[in-house]
């Protein structure tokens, strides 16, 4: 690759490295492909343009310390992390944790993330596990490097390791601090050559133990994110910014109707346009390639294509979706999937209950609708394939594209660069597959970018749910039975970057060998209810493939939908019991004495109590007695856990009884994710989770008629805006561990958990304010107004 007017900073740095040292050859001759990158190099300038790394691109060996961590001559370090940062600051937090274990200053390290040729396969992003799982591996590796450095110093000084002290990359004798050696002097520019152990990447580690929490200095500090200055001054290089010599631009032409079959393409309709190069067509996939980007846009719009509508409607209109989900026979249960989970005797307990409450909740499909649409650049130079992408899972992107193109994986590399959010959409990044396919067809670098209507209509969707709940209270208002039954429109889940399920593959007629109905768990709470049933069944829409309603993971997949129903219903039960919603929950949480190994029950109680205290919660049943003014105010709580993190959210709302507009002026979030690495980064992440949750609660819905998605831009698919942002957000960081000072306290995930309770908290607040129970998302003004009027509010 030679320099265009925008070249990846890492590549520049790598070139610089290669120009200044023989390290690469040395490592190469040893069978390792580990590249050093000096801290200075990342901002290097005036570098000669030369190939960064010729293929093939074998996997870095995760059992070699050198694959994870390099110490340079100047004592700075580079960490190689097989994750991707979606803007939650996981790169900064990982660097804090590894610097702490290695014992170097934060500004003496850089992090390289998500390059399949340079970083070990830690899977990229997903499941809020970057800090909880993968950075803990990084800690172990950094601790091992420190141990090895101490041994080297011990040998040099002829003194036992116990007599040595380490401070910021300098090892000295405790008895004579004037005798010291730096990390750079010990190993700078050379390999550690230390083998690690571990059955898999997540278990990789050495002999050294990680430090007790009390000895960590950088962990727990709000160190500013390293990526923010360049994002603010315009110098940051995103995946959208990469330019290569000779690259050309493509735009897709999508079927105008779901399930349509392409019958004819009239290339002459665009072949005379300036810059026109090719129409590429295979099956129902069509793209136009032009020299310039605006030419490709115009040609894709102008291309005359004839489509034939499918014989049967692909799906019911969005207004009929929930009736369809409830009336259609679900997919057969198979292999335990869809089987009800039963505890006690729910039917008997409901029959004996003093009060039975029943309610039905509906959640529509919701899109990811990233602020920038899908995009990628693929370079087929030298018979290899390099993809520049913001795919959050670059490793499966690589193997998926290799399989799709019929290339050996080692001839394909994926270079992750930042892009517009991730939240699950880029776990199946279609544009990278399209760019690679077109680059192979044209034999030159091709950049693909989707248009807005394409992204909003055809991105992956969070599945729609229809949830029916029954609950039984005894004469004292105790919850004795809970029956949760959900139907989920989640068929042929597209998975992650699979060669047969990405959109281009579907349109080309490829199909997975075994299409699998999607599933979902039940509510994530720790309530003690003696009799329960939970059942989730997938319902198939008529069109399974080539559909704009293909599902994919959307931030905390399924959690907000399930919790909207479950935690709204807990409030309905509390109201039926004439109980305060906080007290009612605490009673359910305290109902059992036992707890699990991570104290999830105790930590659930802690967040509910902390949220109520921070809000200044006044104990009383809901709804509040409505006042007479135009604006009705109320407060609502919801609680949940995700994996090992517990969270409680309180929303305060104002409901305008004249136009149905709901506002959320204040939110409180109590959050226990164990060890906090970067408090400000955590707070920013939680704030984003909460506001994204407000957006999904008030506005977001995929609309469709019987043949196509009709919500295609920011007017037809509205999102939260500045006007809707709360005026006050209180984030309360909780450590509810019974032994809060435990030296082995672990961090748990924070990228998604606080998203989960938001819709229910708002629904409960709207009920508190108005007495009206909103059971269908989103709460757009016209829907709220209709409910208020029906209830005579």
């Amino acid at each position: 690759m030679s320099a265009g007017h925008g070249v990846n900073a890492i590549d520049r740095a790598l070139r610089r490295w290669e120009g200044t040292a023989s390290r690469r050859d040395f490592l190469k001759s040893s069978g390792l492909f580990v590249f050093g990158l000096s801290a200075l190099g990342a901002a290097g300038e005036g570098l000669a343009a030369q190939p960064a790394a010729d293929g093939p691109y074998p996997d870095p060996d995760f059992l070699q310390l050198d694959s994870w961590l390099v110490v340079h001559e100047d004592g700075s370090a580079t960490f190689y992390v097989g994750k991707t940062d979606g803007g939650q600051g996981t790169g900064t937090a990982t660097r804090q944790m590894m610097c702490d274990e290695l014992d170097i200053a934060f500004d003496r390290a850089t992090v390289v993330m998500g390059r399949t040729d340079l970083t070990v396969d830690q899977g990229g992003s997903g499941g809020s596990d970057a800090i909880e799982r993968d950075a803990m591996v990084g800690r172990r590796i950094a601790a091992e490097a420190r141990r090895v450095l101490l041994e080297m110093a011990s040998e040099r000084f002829g003194e036992p390791v116990e007599e040595l002290r380490v401070s910021e990359g300098v090892i000295s004798l405790a008895s004579d601090p004037s005798r010291s050696v730096t990390y750079g002097e010990l190993v700078g520019g050379r390999r550690f050559d230390v083998a690690l152990t571990g059955a898999n990447i997540n278990q990789a580690g050495g002999v050294a133990s990680i430090k007790p929490v009390q000895d960590l200095k950088l962990v727990g500090q709000s160190i500013p994110r390293y990526d923010i200055p360049a994002k603010v001054d315009g110098s940051f290089e995103w995946a959208v910014d990469v330019h290569l010599p000779g690259m050309v631009h493509a735009r897709n032409v999508r079927p105008p109707f779901a399930g349509a079959t392409l019958t004819a393409v009239d290339e002459s309709s665009v072949s005379g346009m300036p810059g026109f190069l090719r129409v590429v067509r295979k099956g129902n996939y069509v793209a136009v390639v032009c020299e310039r980007e605006e030419q490709a846009i115009e040609a894709a719009e102008g291309l005359a294509v004839t489509w034939e509508k499918p014989a049967t409607a692909p799906f019911p209109p969005s207004d009929d979706l929930f009736a369809y989900l409830r009336s259609t026979e679900p997919e057969p249960r198979s292999g335990g999937r869809g089987a009800p989970q039963v505890e006690g005797d729910p039917d008997g307990a409901l029959a004996r209950a003093a009060t039975v409450v029943e309610a039905a909740y509906d959640v529509p499909f919701q899109g990811h609708t990233a602020i920038g649409p899908a995009h990628a650049l693929a370079d087929p130079s030298d018979g290899q394939m390099t993809i520049y992408t913001n795919d959050m899972k670059p490793y499966s992107h690589r193997t998926g594209i290799a399989e799709f193109l019929g290339m050996p994986p080692e001839e394909v590399r994926v270079i992750w660069m930042e892009g517009p959010q991730l939240y699950g959409r880029t776990a199946a990044d279609d544009a990278g597959f399209e760019a690679a396919y077109l680059a192979k067809e044209l034999g030159r670098p091709v950049r693909v970018q989707w248009m807005r209507h394409e992204e909003t209509a055809w991105d992956t969707k969070g599945p729609a749910f229809a949830i029916d709940l029954r609950g039984g209270l005894d004469a004292d208002g105790n919850l004795v039975a809970l029956d949760y039954r959900s139907r989920i429109a989640n068929y042929a889940h597209v998975g992650y970057n699979q060669a047969r399920t990405v959109l281009i593959a579907q349109l080309m007629g490829l199909r997975p060998e075994r299409p699998v109905p999607g599933g979902a768990g039940g509510p994530d709470e720790m309530y003690h209810v003696p009799n329960r049933r939970e059942e989730t069944r997938a319902v198939r829409l008529p069109l399974v493939f080539e559909t704009p309603l293909r599902t994919g993971n959307l931030r905390d997949p399924n959690g907000p939908q399930i919790t909207f129903a479950a935690e709204s219903f807990i409030d309905e039960l509390a109201a039926a019991a004439d109980a305060d919603p906080v007290e009612f929950r605490l009673h359910l949480l305290r109902g059992a004495a036992d707890d699990d190994e991570i104290f999830r029950r105790a930590r659930s109680i802690a967040v509910v109590e902390a949220a109520a205290k921070a809000y200044g919660w006044e104990a009383r049943p809901s709804p509040a007695r409505a006042g007479g003014g135009r604006l009705l105010t109320g407060r609502g709580i919801a609680y949940a856990y995700r994996a090992r993190t517990t969270v409680a959210v309180i929303a305060e709302v104002e409901v305008d009884r004249e136009n149905g507009q709901v506002r959320v002026p204040r939110m409180v979030c109590a959050h226990d994710c164990g060890l906090v690495i970067n408090p400000d980064g955590l707070e920013n992440t939680i704030q984003g989770n909460l506001l994204h949750g407000i957006s999904r609660t008030l506005y977001e819905e995929v609309r469709f008629d019987g043949e196509k998605v009709t919500s295609v831009d920011w007017r037809s698919h509205p999102t939260l805006t500045h006007r809707d942002a709360p005026e006050r957000i209180d984030v309360v960081v909780v450590n509810g561990d019974p032994n809060p000072d435990r030296p082995d306290l672990r961090p748990y995930g924070a990228g998604e958990p606080s998203h989960k309770p938001v819709p229910a908290a708002i629904a409960n607040a709207v009920h508190d304010a108005t007495g009206v129970r909103m059971r269908r998302l989103p709460f757009r003004p016209e829907r709220v107004l209709a409910e208020l009027q029906a209830a005579g509010v």
């Binding site: 925008g6 803007g87 990526d227 923010i228 001054d233 995103w238």
Partner: protein, 159 residues
């Protein structure tokens, strides 16, 4: 194709493109600028914002032939090597998550404070409302605008 001359961040450029080409593609692909980015192509989201004679415009829909006066992109906002107070406030408040939309947020805030140096909370909300953020960093953006306004007032008072 037609030669068009435009002034961007204080430099004059001549490009040879279809005069109907939206300014965004010229800035990104011909001039190599990274600040303005494609978000919607419909002037709905603000990700492509640039300043034209100090006023925020949507470069995704403005034909290059209709640009007038001085174009300023995010890269051109600093003066004499110093970040604009709005940019500094963005760092101090640690505003961005992914950061993809922040170009439009920062330029719109800078233009807002130019015409209204001491906006109320409500004026900030209304002034910033056209710029969308899907990481939903609105809360911090609004704090940063207030911080920038205070910093600019202090600089003014020192003069």
């Amino acid at each position: 194709m037609q030669e068009t001359t435009l002034t961007v961040n204080g430099k004059t450029h001549t490009v040879n493109v279809d005069p109907a080409t939206p300014l965004l593609y010229v800035l990104r692909n011909d001039l190599g600028l990274r600040g303005p980015r494609f978000g919607c192509g419909l002037a709905q989201c603000g990700t492509c914002t640039v300043l034209m004679d100090g006023r925020p415009i949507r470069s995704c829909i403005l034909p290059v032939s209709r640009t007038r006066g001085e174009i300023t992109t995010l890269e051109g906002l600093p003066e004499d090597g110093e970040l604009h107070p709005v940019q500094q406030a963005w760092i101090d408040e640690q505003v961005p998550q992914c950061g993809f939309c922040q170009n439009g947020q920062i330029l719109t805030a800078a233009a807002l404070l130019e015409t209204n140096p001491a906006p109320t909370d409500d004026e900030i909300r209304r002034g910033m409302n056209p710029i969308l953020c899907r990481c939903m960093t609105y809360f911090r953006i609004q704090s940063a605008v207030k911080r920038a306004a205070a910093a600019m007032a202090e600089t003014e008072a020192d003069r």
